[in-house]
Symmetry: C2
Subunit: 201 residues, 2 copies
């Protein structure tokens, strides 16, 4: 005999499939929804039901776009410099960079990072399409905006090799201290990089 009604157990089980959500957290979410206005569950249900059907991918940059849209507004916008591309791993990385309001180029979403352990090779990422864009859009600079992890580094190196022989200027995000972070809390690797890449004042 189950201790909880089927309808509640179903919600707990399904919420428990979200990343980082264990049974206790799923129970807390489910019980909150049960106690609150039923409209809240229905609104969430409706959004989830229409999640995939409302979303497409830009066929140039692979950024997320409204379904039916061919190209991302961040690509078609005449204000954006098509000769500069920031290469990111995932669509949400675009949001993070846009929030800085310090980048006026265009983006290219790889759809992941090279990670042999997860079975993700360069052929699974949108690298071919990046190389094609370099020619089509007469790209001058590529900023490899991948994270400072082993996967980020090897993906950056692979792309660098793929573009060898072209005149594209390549750079990657600076590694160094987080702004506002106390020196004593920085990890050794970051601190080493910050020392190596020290900037003249």
């Amino acid at each position: 005999m189950s201790l909880l009604p089927r309808a509640l157990q179903d919600v707990i089980d399904d919420l428990g499939k979200l990343p980082g959500v264990g049974p206790r957290t799923a129970e807390r979410y489910a019980y909150y929804l049960l106690r609150t206005d039923p409209q809240k569950s229905r609104t969430l249900a409706h959004s989830l039901e229409h999640l995939h059907e409302g979303i497409g991918y830009c066929r140039k940059t692979f950024a997320l776009v409204e379904k039916g849209q061919e190209l991302s507004p961040l690509y078609t916008d005449p204000e954006r410099d098509k000769t500069t591309i920031a290469v990111v791993a995932e669509p949400f990385d675009i949001v993070a960079i846009e929030k800085t309001a310090h980048f006026k180029g265009t983006y290219h979403v790889l759809g992941g990072l090279v990670s042999p352990i997860d079975g993700i090779g360069p052929e699974n990422l949108h690298i071919k399409e990046l190389v094609a864009r370099v020619k089509e859009d007469k790209v001058k600079e590529i900023i490899l905006a991948t994270s400072a992890s082993v996967e980020g580094e090897s993906t950056a190196l692979y792309i660098q090799k793929e573009l060898e022989g072209t005149k594209v200027k390549m750079s990657r995000l600076a590694r160094g201290l987080s702004v506002g972070l106390d020196l004593e809390y920085a990890d050794q690797l970051t601190l080493t990089r910050a020392l190596e890449d020290r900037q003249a004042m």
Copy 2:
């Protein structure tokens, strides 16, 4: 211009209304759902859509039951001792106690705890119904299985006063509970000990 497609932003906004879920976490959940099999979002949507309609409350114990069921199986089960009642604040507390497999009585869900700051008085809880059950079921013992918080204590004291003059033996869970810890998060061993060492009031 929004940076994310409407359908995705909706899911992020709605997930962000769950307790303890900030925008970053909501983004992580939403993006996971977007990348994974669309069937997962639809299954979750379906469960949420049917959450409230599939659930009812036992008219005796106020435990959660399948819709249409009048009484909780934990009450009607002839193996359960109706003369012993464990009084709990919320329906999930029953699950926690059942998992110890050390309680063979029945339950009574108050539907909260006395908390003047939240505008919850004794009249908002199922205390009248508890007093009625004491007569109807010839109750011999009531275990106040409320959490070791100020609200838990004052609720316990209020119920004790309400039952003054009856011959009901009253006890509360042993002080094995960490002060401030919600009952549903107590580990099974601690809860088992707290049941065994319940103290006469």
